[in-house]
Structure formats: C-alpha cells, structure tokens
C-alpha cells in the first residue's frame, strides 16, 4: 500500500472523528455554559448575601467587577461589590471571588478554581466534618486593609499547615484587588 492511500484512510477516520466531536460539542455546549453560569451565580450570592440584584460592571480600564444592589433599582449606591482575584499558588493559579462591603470590609470569599496539592494546598477548600463552610475561607470574612495577609506577613489569616505558598497567594491576590478598587475610588476611602 502506498503512502497516499494510507494517508487517505487515516484522513477518513479523522474526518469522521471530527464530525462525532462537533456533534457532542454542539449538544453539550449549552449545558456546560449553564453549569458555569450557575456556579458563578451561586458564588456571587454566597459572597454578597444582602444583594438581590448583581450587575456585571466594567471599569474604564477594562476590568470587570460586580455591583450588588439591595433592590431592582441600580441608580442607588451599591450595597456591595464582588471581584475575581487570581494569584499564583504552588501548582495552579488560584481564582477567588471576593465580596466586599462599600467600605472595603470582606463580606465573603469563595475559591472558584484551584489545582493545588491534594491533602495540603486543597485544605483551602476543605470543610471540616460537621461544619458548613471551609475554615480557611471563613477567616477572610470581616478582614480589612492590611489584615488581609497571612500571619507570617503580619496579617490575621492563619496559614494552612505546610501550604504557606497557597495561603499567601490567596491572601495577597485578594488584597491586591481590594487595593485596586480603592485606588479607582470604587470603594470608599479609608476612614482614619
């Protein structure tokens, strides 16, 4: 058998595989997007519990964040904000969604994506038996300004044992986003 014929046969197999894949892609596309959206909406609700209406907003320099409003009226000042923070952890880029009060106090945070070391870094999303929310993430609620840092850096976030890099990545990425929002005057200035 010459090479042209072999190539042709292989080509036929590849084309049929491509058809099969495109069919599956088309039929699952909607459901995958819906699942992603659902996860995002649930996370937004958990970090901004007071907000009834959450609107995606784009800042003048093209960065996206969410504004939460108490009612349907979106002309009043928002009751809170949410923003996605990303920090380089030990083995992945950790994405977190942070909910903030208008004065910059953290109302809630949710780790959206991480691929850290199982049993070490993944403790960041671990829920202890009998509890409802992950203990590591709970520590962020109520923190403000410079206290959003791990204990080794002088903050009040207790590191995960053996996972300082993961803990630090999460804390510093959140702090960075809060500072960005403050620098753009989205958050109220710090009251001395």
């Amino acid at each position: 058998m010459n090479i042209t014929k072999l190539g042709f046969i292989l080509g036929i197999f590849c084309v049929s595989a491509a058809f099969a894949l495109s069919a599956v892609y088309e039929s699952t596309k909607g459901k995958i997007a819906y699942e992603k959206e659902k996860v995002m909406q649930e996370a937004l609700r958990s970090v901004l519990p007071e907000a009834k209406n959450i609107v995606l907003t784009t800042s003048p320099d093209g960065k996206e964040y969410y504004c939460g409003f108490a009612g349907d009226d979106t002309d009043v000042p928002p009751v809170g904000y949410a923003i996605v923070a990303a920090g380089k952890g030990y083995s992945s880029t950790i994405q977190t969604l942070v909910g903030l009060a208008p004065d910059g106090v953290i109302k809630g945070m949710n780790i959206m994506y991480q691929q850290e070391t199982p049993g070490l870094g993944t403790k960041a999303v671990e829920i202890k038996y009998g509890e409802k929310d992950p203990w590591f993430q709970r520590q962020f609620i109520g923190s403000f300004g410079d206290t959003v840092a791990v204990d080794k850096d002088g903050g009040k976030i207790q590191c995960i044992t053996g996972s300082t890099i993961t803990s630090r990545a999460i804390a510093s990425s959140i702090k960075q986003e809060v500072e960005w929002m403050r620098s753009k005057a989205i958050l109220k200035p710090v009251q001395e």
Binding site: K31, I32, Q115
Partner: protein
Amino acid sequence: MQRTIVQEFTKGIGSENPIFRLVLGLCPALAVTTSLENGLGMGLAATFVLLCSNTIVSLIKGIVPPKIRIPIYIVVIATFVSITEMVMAAYAPDLHKALGIFVPLIVVNCIILGRAEAFAGKNGVFRSVVDGLGMGTGFTISLCVLAGIREILGDGKLWGYPVMGQSFEPVLLLILPAGGFFVMGLLMAALKMKDMRTAAMKRTQAIAEK
C-alpha cells in the same frame, strides 16, 4: 486455548489485572488516587473510554491497514476521551472539577491502547466488550483500593468522612505522589508473596504425591 466469556471478564480483575499484574497505566493510578471519590471517578471514566474504544477497534479491525493501525487507534481513543470530558463537564461538573487534568490524560493511558492493540484488534466485538468491561473493572477496583488506603492513612478520612478519630495524626506523605509509589509497591509485594506461597504449596503437594 480459547477462554470462556466469564474468564475473559475475570482475567482483568485477577490474573491480568492492569495495575498489579500488567503494571500498565500507572501515571493516572498514582496521581489521582488521593481520595476514594477521585479513584472511583477516574476508574469509571477510563472504563467507559476503554469499552467504547474496544468496541470500535474490534468493529473496524477488518478495514484498518496494519501499517497505520496505531494512529487510527489513537484517533478513536482521543475522540472518546474528548466526548467523555464534554459530557462530564455538562452533567457531572463536580467530578469534572475534581479530576481536572487527568481526564484528558486518559488518552495516553497505556491500558486503553494496550487493549486495543493486544485484544480488540484480534477479537470479535462481543469478546472485546467483555474484555473492556473486565479490564475496566480491574482498573477501577485497583484504583479504589489504592485510593482508599491512601485516603484513610494520609488524610484520616474515607469518602470525605473522618473515620480515624480526633487523635489520629494523618501520614501526609501517603497523600503526596511519593506515597502513591509506597502503597503501590507494598501492595504488589504482598501479592507477589501470596503467589510465591501458593507456588511453594503446590510444589510440596507435588513432592508429597510422588
């Protein structure tokens, strides 16, 4: 000697167990077996791909030129892995999130190409389906055993629930990649010891009968 259908199925669990006997597909076996849930998920996903690829490979074996059989097998396997990944993302998003990078890696799982080459390319559809099911079951059981031991000793939990009590200090090493090799090695040593005992027993019996 032609095996019976039942033997075709059970060989994947026992005498030709992909992990402990053929020692194939160790990369996913060691990497994902940090919790029972991941082990079972990976096992089932690989079983599904193995079943589909064995079926298709045995169906097309007559029209595949021997010279390009490996690339064609890979195309078939890769297609099914992509389908599995998309379906998983749509209908089991939590599992998809947990398995992450290891789903695409099923493509290079040597068990699947190994069975296509060694079995499905030479046997009929029915036998290939049974072979795929048996090998998949053997792979899943092995993964669950590895994952169960590592989760209990390395994290003090099983299926996410604490089972070892408050005072138990988890052996973190077992959750880390190196721990996978330790558990795997010890289990294989135990199996080997059992084999040698059985062989020795048979020898003594044979001598006694003489």
